[in-house]
C-alpha cells in the first residue's frame, strides 16, 4: 500500500490510518474547519446574549459603550489584522519551504499577538480603575439603576475574556510552531501544522473583527 511518506525531511511520517499524504492533509484541514464551526457556535451563544440585551436596553448599552476607548480599540484591531497578515505570510513561506522566512513571520505574528494582549490588559486595568468591573464594587456614573449597565460590562468582559483566552492558546500554538520551524521540521511537502495554526489564528481575528464594532462603537455619536 502507500509506502512511507517519501518526504526526505524528518517530517511526521504518514499516519497509519491514512492511505495517502494528500488524504491526511485534507482530513486535517477539514478537521480544523469543523472545529472552527464549533467555535462559531461557542461565540455565537455570546453574540446571542449580546443581541438580546442590546435590544432590551438600547440606551443603557449605548451609554456604557461610549465609556470604552474606541481609538485604542481601533488600534488594537489594526494590530490583530497585522498579525493575521504576518501569519498568512508565514503560511505562504511554509508552502514554499523557505525555513528562515517561516521563522521571521512567526516571530512577528507572536509579537503582534502579545502587543494585542498587552493593550487588552491595559484597557481592563483602566476599567478596573473606573469601577466598571461587574461585581460588588460596580458603579457606573449617570445611571439610575446599575443592573443593565453591569450587564453590558459582564458581556464585555466575558466576550473579550474568552477572546483573550483564545489568543493566549494561539500564542502557545505559535510558540510550539516556532520551535519546530526553527528546527526545519516544516517543508513544502509537510506544512499542515502551519496551515492549521494559521486557520485558527485568522478565526480568532475574525471574532475580534465582530467584537470591536459591537462592543466599542454603539451609538458613539451620543458622546
Amino acid at each position: 500500500m502507500a509506502e512511507q511518506a517519501h518526504a526526505h525531511a524528518e517530517s511526521l511520517a504518514l499516519r497509519e490510518q491514512f492511505n495517502t499524504a494528500e488524504q491526511q492533509k485534507e482530513s486535517s484541514t477539514f478537521g480544523m474547519w469543523v472545529f472552527l464551526v464549533t467555535e462559531v457556535m461557542f461565540f455565537g451563544g455570546l453574540f446571542l446574549a449580546y443581541t438580546i440585551y442590546r435590544n432590551t436596553y438600547p440606551t443603557v448599552f449605548g451609554m456604557a459603550s461610549t465609556s470604552l476607548n474606541a481609538v485604542i480599540g481601533a488600534l488594537n484591531t489594526a494590530v490583530l489584522l497585522c498579525s493575521s497578515f504576518t501569519m498568512v505570510l508565514a503560511v505562504r513561506a511554509s508552502q514554499l519551504g523557505k525555513r528562515k522566512a517561516i521563522v521571521i513571520f512567526l516571530i512577528l505574528t507572536l509579537l503582534l499577538g502579545m502587543v494585542f494582549l498587552g493593550v487588552k490588559a491595559y484597557e481592563w486595568n483602566e476599567k478596573f480603575v473606573e469601577h466598571h468591573i461587574p461585581g460588588a464594587h460596580f458603579h457606573f456614573e449617570g445611571m439610575a439603576e446599575q443592573g443593565p449597565a453591569q450587564l453590558f460590562f459582564t458581556l464585555y468582559f466575558v466576550m473579550t475574556g474568552l477572546h483573550a483566552l483564545h489568543m493566549v492558546v494561539g500564542v502557545g500554538i505559535l510558540s510550539w510552531l516556532l520551535y519546530h520551524a526553527a528546527r526545519g521540521r516544516f517543508t513544502a511537502e509537510y506544512m499542515t501544522p502551519v496551515d492549521i495554526a494559521g486557520l485558527y489564528w485568522h478565526f480568532v481575528d475574525i471574532i475580534w473583527i465582530f467584537l470591536f464594532p459591537l462592543l466599542y462603537l454603539i451609538d458613539r455619536h451620543m458622546k
Binding site: Q17, F42, T154
Partner: protein, 541 residues
C-alpha cells in the same frame, strides 16, 4: 471449539496487555471498550438514583428521604443518565468500534483526539461524581436560573464544570466521525452504500458539533453569574431567565436526537440482518436521519410553551415540532415494511428491535401530544412528559443499545452470549418497562407534577404500580451484566459472521485484528446485499 485458536491469532485484545496498553491506546476498538466500561458504570449509578426515587414515591408523605435529598436524587439521576450514559453510549461505544470498519477504514481520522475524548468524558465524570459524593446538586438536570445561580446552595459549579468538560468529549467525537466519514471511506464505498448505522452516527455527529458548544457557553455564563453574582440571567439585575432556557434548550433538544439517532441506526442494522432483507426505502431512512438532525434545531421552543415565551413564538415552535416528527414516523414505517416477505429470525437482537419499534412508536406519538400547544399547557412539567421521554430514551435508546450490544458482542469479543438468558432478560425488561412508565401517562394527565417528593394520596396506587415495574426493570438490567461477563470466558466461540450479516465488519475475524483490514477492501455491492453472504455455511446463533 478451539478456544486456543483464538488466543494465537493476533487481535486487538491480545495485541498488548497491562494498564498502559489500554490507557494510552490509539486503537478505536480499545477506546470503544474503555467507553463501554465508563458508560456502564454511570448507567448503574444513575440506576441506583432511579430506584431510590421510585422507592421514595411509594408513599404520598415521602418517608424514605428528606425533600433536599429527593431533589438531589432526581437531579443526579438526570445528569448521570443523560450526560454520562445516553449521550456517549451508542456513538462512543458501538459507533467508535464499528464506524471505521463499516466504511473500510483502519481507524478514525484522529485517533489521539479520540483518546482525548474518552479522557474528557472520564474527567467530566469525575467532577460530576465528586459533586455527587460531596453533597450532590439539587437544581434538576436543566439548571434553570435564577434558582441554580442564586437560590441553590449545592454543588452547582462542580457539576456544571463536569458537564462542560464532558461536552467537549461529545464535540470531539462528532468532529472525528464527520471527518472520517467524509475523508476515509474505502474505494467504492459511496454515500449510498454506507450502512444506515453510519448515516445515523454521521447525523448525530453534525448535531454534536453544532449544538454542544452553545450549552458550553451557557454553562460559562451560568458559572460567571453564580461565582461573581453578576446578573446575566438574574432579573433583579436586568437579566432574562427565559434567555437561559432558550440557550439551554437550543442544545438540549437536539441532544435528545443525539441520544435517539444512533439507536435508530442500530435498529436499521438489526432489522435488516435478522429479516435478511435490505432496509425498505434505504434512501428515505438515510435522509430522515439527516432531516431529524437539521429540523431538530428548529423546535426547541416547545419546552418553553408556558415559560412566558410569546404566543407567536409558541405557534412557530409547535408547528415545526410536527415537522420533526415526520422523519421518525417514516423510519418506523420503513422498518415495519422491511419485515414484509423477509426471513425473520428471533435472535435476541431482533427481540430488542421489536421492543424498540413498539416503545419508540408510543414515545414518538406521545411527542405529538406534547407538541400541541393547548395540550402541553396542561401536561408540561407533569409525569406525562416524564413518561414521554422515558419511552423514547429507555424504551428507545437503551433497548437499541442492548440490542446493538448483543448483535455485535460476538464481533467485539469473539464469544457468543447465552441466547436463552438473553431472551429472558429482554422479555423482563420489556414487561418491567411498560409497567413502570405507562401508569405515569395517566398520572401525568391527572396533574401529578414532576419532581414532587410529596403528592396527594389519590395518586398513590399508580405510583405503587410504577415502582413495581421499576423493580422488575432493574432486575432485567442486571441479567446482561452477568451473562456478558460470563460469556467472556465460557461463551461459545463466535465465528466471523454468526448472523449472516453483510457489513464490512463481518468480513474480518472476531475479535478483529488491530489494523482492521490487511488490504483496504474495494466495495462493489449495495449496503444490504445478502446474496453475497448466504450460501456459505452460516451457523445462525
Amino acid at each position: 471449539m478451539n478456544t486456543a485458536a483464538i488466543e494465537q491469532r493476533e487481535n486487538y485484545l491480545n495485541a498488548g496487555y497491562g494498564l498502559k496498553s489500554w490507557l494510552l491506546t490509539k486503537d478505536h476498538k480499545r477506546i470503544a471498550i474503555l467507553y463501554l466500561i465508563t458508560v456502564t458504570i454511570f448507567f448503574f449509578i444513575g440506576g441506583i438514583f432511579a430506584s431510590l426515587i421510585r422507592i421514595e414515591l411509594l408513599t404520598p408523605q415521602g418517608d424514605l428521604v428528606s425533600s433536599e435529598t429527593y431533589n438531589k436524587l432526581f437531579t443526579m439521576h438526570g445528569i448521570a443518565m443523560i450526560f454520562f450514559f445516553l449521550i456517549p453510549s451508542i456513538p462512543a461505544t458501538l459507533g467508535n468500534f464499528f464506524l471505521p470498519m463499516m466504511i473500510g477504514a483502519r481507524d478514525l481520522a484522529f485517533p489521539r483526539v479520540n483518546l482525548l475524548s474518552w479522557y474528557l468524558l472520564v474527567i467530566g465524570g469525575a467532577f460530576a461524581l465528586f459533586a455527587m459524593l460531596a453533597g450532590g446538586v439539587d437544581t434538576g438536570w436543566t439548571f434553570y436560573t435564577p434558582y441554580s445561580t442564586t437560590y441553590s446552595n449545592t454543588w452547582v459549579i462542580a457539576t456544571a464544570l463536569g458537564i462542560f468538560v464532558s461536552g467537549f468529549s461529545s464535540i470531539l467525537t462528532g468532529l472525528n466521525f464527520i471527518v472520517t466519514v467524509h475523508r476515509m471511506r474505502a474505494p467504492g464505498m459511496t454515500w449510498f452504500r454506507m450502512p444506515l448505522f453510519v448515516w445515523a452516527n454521521y447525523a448525530t455527529a453534525v448535531i454534536q458539533v453544532l449544538g454542544t458548544p452553545v450549552v458550553a457557553v451557557t454553562i460559562v455564563l451560568l458559572f460567571c453569574e453564580r461565582a461573581f453574582h453578576i446578573g446575566i440571567f438574574d432579573p433583579a439585575l436586568g437579566g432574562d431567565p427565559v434567555l437561559f432556557q432558550h440557550m439551554f434548550w437550543f442544545y438540549s433538544h437536539p441532544a435528545v436526537y443525539i441520544m435517539v439517532l444512533p439507536a435508530m441506526g442500530v435498529i436499521s442494522e438489526i432489522i435488516s440482518v435478522f429479516s435478511r432483507k435490505p432496509i425498505f426505502g434505504y434512501h428515505f431512512v438515510a435522509f430522515s436521519s439527516m432531516a431529524i438532525a437539521v429540523i431538530g434545531f428548529l423546535v426547541w421552543g416547545h419546552h418553553l410553551f408556558v415559560s412566558t415565551q410569546s404566543v407567536y413564538a409558541g405557534l412557530v415552535f409547535s408547528f415545526l415540532s410536527y415537522f420533526v416528527a415526520i422523519p421518525s414516523a417514516v423510519k418506523v414505517f420503513n422498518w415495519t415494511a422491511t419485515l414484509y416477505k423477509g426471513s425473520i429470525s428471533f435472535a435476541t437482537p431482533m427481540l430488542y428491535a421489536f421492543g424498540f419499534i413498539g416503545l419508540f412508536t408510543i414515545g414518538g406519538l406521545t411527542g405529538l401530544f406534547v407538541a400541541s400547544l393547548g395540550f402541553d399547557v396542561h401536561v408540561t412539567d407533569t409525569y406525562f412528559v416524564v413518561a414521554h421521554f422515558h419511552y423514547v430514551m429507555v424504551g428507545g435508546t437503551i433497548m437499541a443499545f442492548l440490542g446493538g450490544l448483543h448483535y455485535w458482542w460476538p464481533k467485539m469479543t469473539g464469544r457468543m452470549y447465552p441466547e436463552n438468558w438473553a431472551k429472558l432478560s429482554a422479555a423482563i425488561i420489556f414487561v418491567g418497562f411498560n409497567l413502570t412508565f405507562f401508569p405515569q401517562f395517566i398520572l401525568g394527565y391527572l396533574g401529578m407534577p414532576r419532581r414532587y417528593h410529596v403528592y396527594p394520596d389519590e395518586f398513590q396506587v399508580l405510583h405503587v404500580l410504577s415502582t413495581a415495574g421499576a423493580s422488575i426493570l432493574a432486575i432485567g438490567y442486571l441479567f446482561p451484566m452477568f451473562y456478558f461477563m460470563w460469556s467472556l470466558r465460557y461463551g461459545e466461540v463466535a465465528s466471523a459472521n454468526p448472523w449472516g450479516a453483510t457489513g464490512l465488519e463481518w468480513a474480518m475475524p472476531s475479535p478483529p485484528p488491530v489494523h482492521n483490514f490487511d488490504e483496504i477492501p474495494v466495495v462493489t455491492h449495495e449496503a444490504y446485499d445478502y446474496s453475497t453472504v448466504v450460501g456459505e455455511g452460516v451457523e445462525v446463533g
